[in-house]
Symmetry: C2
C-alpha cells in the first residue's frame, strides 16, 4: 500500500489507476503492534489499522480485500484474482505490477499443529483470537521460539497473567540476534518474570483432546500442559506466486529484486517481507522482514513506477525490541555471522549506565561492539539494558552505514547531560574501549 | 583530573609523579548535575563528587585542594602556587604542565551584583548555597538568562515551589542553540509551568536592603521582587593565567591548542572549558564548555604527555537538555550560524512522534534539519519533544561527523518497534522530508 500511495503521489494527476488486492479482510495493519494489543496496552485493535480501504479510496486507490491473486502472467501482463466473498475469479490487466505478498509464519508439519489453541500472531485476526482465548479462560501458554516475536508474545502473556513456558531450540534466546553473553541478560529477565524458559528444547508436537482442542505441547521425554501454544518460529517469504510466474527467487527463498525494487520480469516490482534484501555488511542477500524496509522499498517502487529514480540501498540488520523493562537493540553482524562469512572480527563488551550514575532512573546498559580486526571498521553492535538503551543502536547503524571505525566513533561529539547519559555516553564509551583494545 | 588519570594509566609504572592544584575545596565534581541537586533529585551533594583527593591519592595522584596557581613560567618550567589554607606561596617545577582552569560564569558589572542572594550555579558550594536559601525560606526567584543553565535552574526552582521569573535579552529562549520555531516550544513549556518568561528583557541591576540582601531585580521601567536571583548568562574561559604567561589565546578568549591539546608553549597542554575547540562544521574555533569535550581532551593530553599519539578532532556543537518533560537536543549549526558563516543552508521541519502513534506514551517530537543547499550535506539538527526525543540527536551528530547528506540518512537502516518509534523514525522521517525537498 506504500507503493500504491507513493505512485499516486508522484504520478501526474489523473494518469494513474491503482488497484490493490488483499487476501485478508483489512489493509495496512501494524503487525508489530500485535503483541502489545494482546498485552492490553492498545485497547482497541482498530488503532492498529493505519488506513482502511475507504481511506485509500479517498486517495484514488481501490483496495479490494478478501481477494486473492492466484496467478500472474508476466507475458500478457495479466493476473487471475479470486474474490473470496463472491467466490468468483476474474482476470485483471496491468501495466505495472507490485508484488507485496509479505511472509507467513513458519508452521512445521508436527502432530497436532492444527489443534484449536495452536496459534500464531501475524494478523489482526490472530491478535483478536489470542485475546479472546485469554478472555475465555486460557491460563497456561507455551511459546515456541524465543526470537523477537517469541519474547514479545511471552511478555504479553505474562502481563495477562498466564503461566508461560518458552521453548527454544538454541541454547539461548534471540540466537540470530545476539551473542551468547548478551542473550544471557535476556534469559535472566525472562526467568525473573516467572517464565519457564527451556533452552535447547524442540517442540515435537501437540496433544489434543477428542474435540481437537490443545491440551499440551510435546517435548522430548514429556509434555507441558497448556491452554494455548503460540508458534514464533520465524517467517518464510510468500514468494511462490512470483516463483510460479517464473520470476527469479533468491537462495533465501525471497523474490530477487534490483536496487530499484524491480524483479526479473519487466514492469514487475516487489517490496516488503516477500523480497530478499542486500545486507551491506556481508554483501549477501537475505530475508529482513521489517516494516521499516517494507515502507522504504514500497516508496522506492512507487517512485520508480511513475518514472522516478529511487533506489533502496540495502539493510544492515538493525532491529530493536524489549522484554518488559529490558531493552534490546542490534545492528550489523554478530561474531558468529562474521565467522560464517569469513570476516575477521574483534569484539568488546562495555558496561555502562543509561544516565549519569547519580541521576534517578540510571540503569545498567551493556554494549557489545564488533569491529574488523583488520581496519577497525565497525561491523556490528548489540545493546541490552534499561530504559533509553536500545535506541542508541541507531548511532551504531549510522556509523556502520558510513564506514566509521571504532576510533572514529569514539571521538564523535555526542550529547551529554545527566538525565540522558553519563559523560561518556555508553556508545562512545564502548567505541573508546574497542579503540583502546586496537592500539 | 582526567589528563592526570590518563597519564598515570599510560606511563610506565613508577616513572610519573603527578600533582594537581585546585582552587576550591573539591576535585572532580559533576557540575552538570548541580541543577538536579537543587531540584532535589539528588539528595546528597556527595553523589556529585566523582573522585575525592583521597581516591586520587590511591592512584598515585596528589590533588591539592585550596591551592591556587598564581603564575606560570614557561621558560624555567616552574609555577607559583598559593596554599589558601596556610596562606603561603611556593614554587613548583614541572616537566609537563596541563592547564585545566575551566571557565567562570559571566558576571556583568551591574549595580547590586554582589548582593546576598545573587547567585550562580557553577560549583558544589553554589549548589549548597542555593539549596540552603530555599530551605531558609526563599519563595521567589529571578533567573537571568534562558540558555541551558537558565532553563535547568528554572526547572529546579519551580520544582522546589518557588515563583520563578526568567529574564532573557533575546526574543526567544536558547537563542544560541535553537532556531525561533523550535524555541517557541520551549517558551510554551516554561509558561505552562507557571514561569513568568520575559523575553527581550535585560537585567539592569539588583535592589538591596540595608543589609545588602537582595530585594528585587531591576528591569527597564520596573523591578521584580525576588528572594534570590540566579545569573545564567553563559561562561568565559579562565584563560588569564595562561595569557599572562605568554601562552597564545584565541579570538574567543580561550587558550589555543593544537589537535594534540598542546598550547603554544612546549610541554604546556590545556584541556576543558578554558580552551577553544575547532568546530568541524564551520572551521572556526570557539568555546564549547561541556564535560564530554573536557573528558576527551584531558584523555588526549594525558596520553600525549606520556609519549602517546592521540588527537582531539574537534566538536560540532552537540548539546542536550530538558525542561521538565520537554527534551531538547541540537547539533551542528543553526540557520543563523550558517548565515553568519556565509554557508548556504536549507531547513526542513518534520513533526512526528516518539513511539508508534497507537503505543501508550507516544509523544510529539519536532525535528529540524539544516543542510547544505549546494550538496545536501547535513549541517545541523534540532530536536524538541517528549520522552525519548533528544538523544536521537546523536544520530545526526554521527551523520554530520561522517559527512552524510540528507539523502544518505533517509535510507539508513534504523531500528523500529512500536515502543520505540513510528515505522519512519523521526530522524529518518526528517531526513526523508529534507531529501524530498531537494529533489
Amino acid at each position: 500500500m506504500t507503493s500504491a500511495s507513493q505512485a499516486m503521489r508522484t504520478a501526474a494527476k489523473g494518469t494513474l489507476e491503482v488497484i490493490a488486492f488483499e487476501r485478508g479482510p483489512r489493509t495496512s495493519w501494524a503487525a508489530c503492534g500485535l503483541p502489545y494489543f494482546v498485552e492490553g496496552l492498545i485497547p482497541d485493535h482498530q488503532k492498529l489499522i493505519a488506513r482502511t480501504p475507504e481511506q485509500f479510496a479517498a486517495r484514488g486507490i481501490e483496495a479490494k480485500v478478501r481477494h486473492v491473486v492466484t496467478s500472474i502472467d508476466t507475458q500478457n501482463h495479466t493476473l487471475a484474482v479470486r474474490d473470496l466473498t463472491a467466490d468468483v475469479e476474474h482476470t485483471e490487466v496491468w501495466d505495472h505490477l507490485v508484488i507485496a505478498t509479505g511472509a507467513s509464519g513458519i508452521t512445521p508439519p508436527l502432530p497436532g499443529i492444527d489443534a484449536n489453541g495452536v496459534m500464531q500472531l501475524r494478523t489482526v485476526d490472530d491478535g483478536i483470537a489470542m485475546d479472546e482465548a485469554i478472555k475465555s479462560g486460557a491460563r497456561t501458554a507455551v511459546v515456541v521460539g524465543a526470537g523477537y516475536i517469541g519474547i514479545e508474545v511471552a511478555e504479553a502473556l505474562v502481563a495477562r497473567g498466564l503461566k508461560v513456558t518458552v521453548l527454544e531450540l538454541a541454547d539461548q534466546p534471540m540466537a540470530a540476534t545476539l551473542g551468547p553473553e548478551m542473550a544471557e541478560m535476556v534469559s535472566e529477565a525472562m526467568i525473573s518474570a516467572g517464565i519457564d524458559l527451556r533452552l535447547g528444547t524442540a517442540v515435537e508436537g501437540f496433544a489434543t483432546d477428542a474435540d481437537c482442542d490443545l491440551t499440551a505441547a510435546l517435548v522430548s521425554g514429556g509434555e507441558i500442559e497448556c491452554d494455548i501454544a503460540v508458534l514464533a518460529l520465524g517467517i518464510r517469504p510468500n514468494s511462490h506466486l512470483a516463483g510460479d510466474a517464473g520470476i527469479e527467487l533468491g537462495e533465501a527463498g525471497g523474490i530477487r529484486v534490483d536496487d530499484r525494487m524491480q524483479t526479473s520480469a519487466p514492469n514487475v516490482w516487489a517490496a516488503g517481507d516477500c523480497v530478499e534484501s542486500l545486507n551491506r555488511v556481508t554483501g549477501q542477500y537475505g530475508i529482513y522482514a521489517l516494516g521499516t524496509h517494507a515502507n522504504k522499498q514500497g516508496r522506492v517502487a512507487g517512485t520508480n513506477i511513475t518514472g522516478g529514480q529511487a533506489t533502496f540501498p540495502g539493510v544492515i540488520g538493525t532491529a530493536i525490541t524489549k522484554f518488559q523493562d529490558l531493552e534490546i537493540g542490534r545492528t550489523g553482524i554478530t561474531e558468529a555471522e562474521g565467522e560464517a562469512q569469513g570476516i575477521r572480527t574483534a569484539a568488546t563488551t562495555a558496561r555502562s549506565r543509561t544516565k549519569a550514575g547519580y541521576f534517578p532512573g540510571s540503569d545498567p546498559v551493556t554494549v557489545r561492539v564488533i569491529h574488523s580486526r583488520d581496519d577497525g571498521k565497525i561491523l556490528g553492535a548489540q545493546i541490552v539494558g534499561g530504559e533509553g538503551s536500545a535506541k542508541r543502536i541507531d548511532v551504531f547503524a549510522t556509523a556502520i552505514w558510513s564506514g566509521m571505525t571504532v576510533d572514529d566513533l569514539a571521538m564523535v561529539d555526542m550529547s551529554y547531560a545527566p538525565p540522558f547519559s553519563p559523560v561518556w555516553d555508553p556508545v562512545v564509551f564502548a567505541a573508546s574501549m574497542a579503540a583502546q583494545g586496537r592500539s
